[in-house]
Every structure is written in C-alpha cells, then in structure tokens.
Symmetry: C2
Amino acid sequence: MAPRILDRSLIRGFELFRDMTEDNLDAVLTTVQVRRLAPGDTVFEQGEAAREFFVLLNGHLKVMQITKDGQQVVVRHVHPGDVFGIAKAIKRNDYPATAEAVTESLVLAWSASQWQDFVALNPALAVNALEAVGERLHEAHTRIRELSTEEVERRVANALLRMVRKAGTATEDGMLIDFPVTRQDIAEMTGTTLHTVSRLLSGWQDQGLVKSARRKVTVTNVDRLKAIADQT
Amino acid sequence: MAPRILDRSLIRGFELFRDMTEDNLDAVLTTVQVRRLAPGDTVFEQGEAAREFFVLLNGHLKVMQITKDGQQVVVRHVHPGDVFGIAKAIKRNDYPATAEAVTESLVLAWSASQWQDFVALNPALAVNALEAVGERLHEAHTRIRELSTEEVERRVANALLRMVRKAGTATEDGMLIDFPVTRQDIAEMTGTTLHTVSRLLSGWQDQGLVKSARRKVTVTNVDRLKAIADQT
DNA sequence: CGTCCCGTTGATCCCTATCAAATGTAGTGG
DNA sequence: CCACTACATTTGATAGGGATCAACGGGACG
C-alpha cells in the first residue's frame, strides 16, 4: 500500500519550509514519519546516535541536559512549527540533549541522512535553519546574561514572561501558560530550586500577580511582573 | 586604481569558505575590507545597525553583552578564522553584542547586503555558517548548564581549561593562555566577581596548579585543574 | 482509599557578593 | 629617570541570598 501523503498545508506555514515549491513540499513529505508521543515520552535522549531530525507538529516538548550527578537543566522548549534534533546538520553525531514530551504531541521525523538531499533540493532550507539556530543562540546568550547578573527573583519572573509570550492563552484570570509546568520545571529553567520558586510564586500570588495550581500557572498582572523582571 | 586582491591562501583554510572554488574565493575577496584594530577598539557595538559581517584574520576579540546597569558579560571569544557579526544572516537588524579587540587584530569585513549574494553563489556557505552557529549554540548550552548547576570554583576551572584548549601555547611552565586575561575578564566569563577569581587563582597558585601575573595566566597542571572542573 | 506526586513552609547554614583598603605594576609626561 | 597616575591584584571582614534539610498538607489517579 502506498504511503498516504500528508497534506502540504500541514507544514506550509512552518518557517523551515518557507519559500518551498509545492513539488518540493510533496517530495519532503513522501519520506516523513509521523510519531505520536504521550506526556513523558522522549523523542531522543542525550548521547544517542543522531539518526533523525524533527519538526514538532503540535504539542509541547522540553529539551534538557542532564548532569553527571543527575540534575536536569531545561535548555529550551519546543513549540509547534519548531525544528529540533538537527544535530547532524551541525556536524554532531549524537544528540547533545534529551527531548521529552510535556503534553501529548505529534512529531514529524525524517532520516538525518536526508538532510543533505533536502538542502540540495532547496538551498533556502539551510538559510532558514540558520535563522532558527541563530535566534536560539541569541536566546541562549540572553539566558547566560541573566544567570550571570540577575538574582533569582528576576530570572523566574523573566522565565514566566517568556512562557506567556510563547505559549500564553488569554483567560478571564489573565495569561495562562497553556502546558503543564511544575515548580521543579521552572527551577530547572532558571538555575534555582523548586523551594525558592514555590516561595516566589506564593508571594506573587499574595500580591495578586499570579495564580497557580498544580502544574498550572496564570499570570494575572503581566505589567507588574514585568516591573519585577526589569527592576534595576 | 584597481583594488589589490588579497591572496586566496589567506582565507582558504577557513571553515566558512570550505569547498569554495578558486573563482568564488576571488569573487568574495574583491569586495572585502581589511581593518586593523588596536586593543580596546570595537568592531561593532551592541544595538548598532548591522551593516557588515566579519571574519577574524588574526588576533583575539571578546564579544560581550552589557546590562542596563553597566555590568558586562563575556558571551564568547573570537579566534582567527571565526565568523562573527552575522546578525543579518540570522534576521536581526542590529548587533546583539559588542565585539572588542583584546590584542591587536586584523578583521575582514563585508557589507551585510552581500551575504545573500555570496550564499546564492555558493549555497555551502549557509551550511557552513549553520555548522558554526550550531557549535556555538552547543557551547552556550554548556555554559547555561554550568551556570545553573556548578559552583563558582568549577566554573572558573572550566573557563581556564577552555581558554587553554582554544588559545593555549606550551611554555616551560605549562600551558599559557596566549592573550591578555584579567581577573575581571574571567569573572565576566563565569558569572562571578573579580575578587572571587583572585582568591581562587591565588589558592591554585599555592597548590602549584597555575601561575599568574598581571593579565597573564599559565596552567601548570592541567590534569589537577581538570579534576577540580569534573569533581562530582 | 491508599499512594504517589506536587506544593508549601519553617529553620539553618554556607558560599560568595559586597564593602573596604592596601600593595604592586605598567605606563606617561615632565 | 623619576614622580605621578591609572589600572590590576590581593586580602580581610561582613552580610545576605538562596541552597539545603526537614516535615507536612493536599490533590489526582489507579
């Protein structure tokens, strides 16, 4: 049975495939594999041989590095439309981190060996990937600056604001981060402990800046949280 | 008078230009500008419009971000052969950081608008740039992990080892970092203060791990410093 | 309905920033 | 060539932000 070709419209809007012709999109889609992930499933793990690269169709992933003594650091979040796991494209043979589903997710997977073929077919792909990686590099530098110079309170405020920006949905209470987040997660994103995050959120909740429940955070007053993030 | 074309051999060895034909190399060199920098000179400054991109011919640069309250964070060092300031290629209109010469340096500069032309001429350029940026992203993630989970002592040890790896020359005392480094510089690379760095270096000097003078550091016992960097 | 996971809150301690001051070193101009 | 100055480094004293240790409360899910 011939593989059913996914509809082009699924991926047409994605930055990575910008400017691709219909034919090229179809060519790319003939070899794609779609994979469903339950929360907690991993797409790949740190140190594993990089056999594939991916685009997130929907859902949410977190990418993390694990230290020798088992501490986890969340390196970034993957949102729908993002490429990830392009280790091969950047001359690595293994994945430098682990990608884990936070919510139920759908992932598009291609064999890493096809990357070169796709680029040959459509050189703009490398340009688009360069843009994506460049933006992430900039974000990484911003985090380095925060970790180096800012106190925990500001870092946590910034992390919340960033999540709201990338994955916030308006509710009557305010901006809800629309995927599950634990205190531990926020701690791993900001280089602190879940205890400190818990204390901060409790304090902010008392002041009416946020509202939080189990694995759920809503920012009720974005401006005042920004004021904390920007405090000089 | 026709501009004198620089010799191809100058840049042939650079990763960015890998796989380029002689003709393409010549084409690229016809529009290059060479710029000499004295220590302390900047190539570009944070926030400035990104009109050019660069390759370092020789010397050493540091790239830093400056916070609103004036603190500096060293984002990375530029070594000969590295591309830098490719803001435009990653869809930014301004430079996100400041690049300053640490030693006397020679820089090759091209108008940013030529980036697209060069890529059209030679698509491998985008692939090579992607590799370079990807590697930097990986380094940035490593630093994020260090800043999040490791104590100052290990971070400083790692920073020294990294400088030795990238710019170390063997001397009779050990591995000398072959560009001027102050305590302040190391502090800005590791998210600590010059006082703490000074205390650490003094301690290590007493134990015979390093030897340091004004703006100069030599690692005399790489293995024992590695042990500190790796301590679990 | 018990168990696991997540969150809260208190008490304590220590790493490292901060404050302060002195010493050393290179460079400069008279 | 020396006095003067600017910068780099060292070292001590102190304080405080957060990590760590500890214990408990509460909701979700099998």
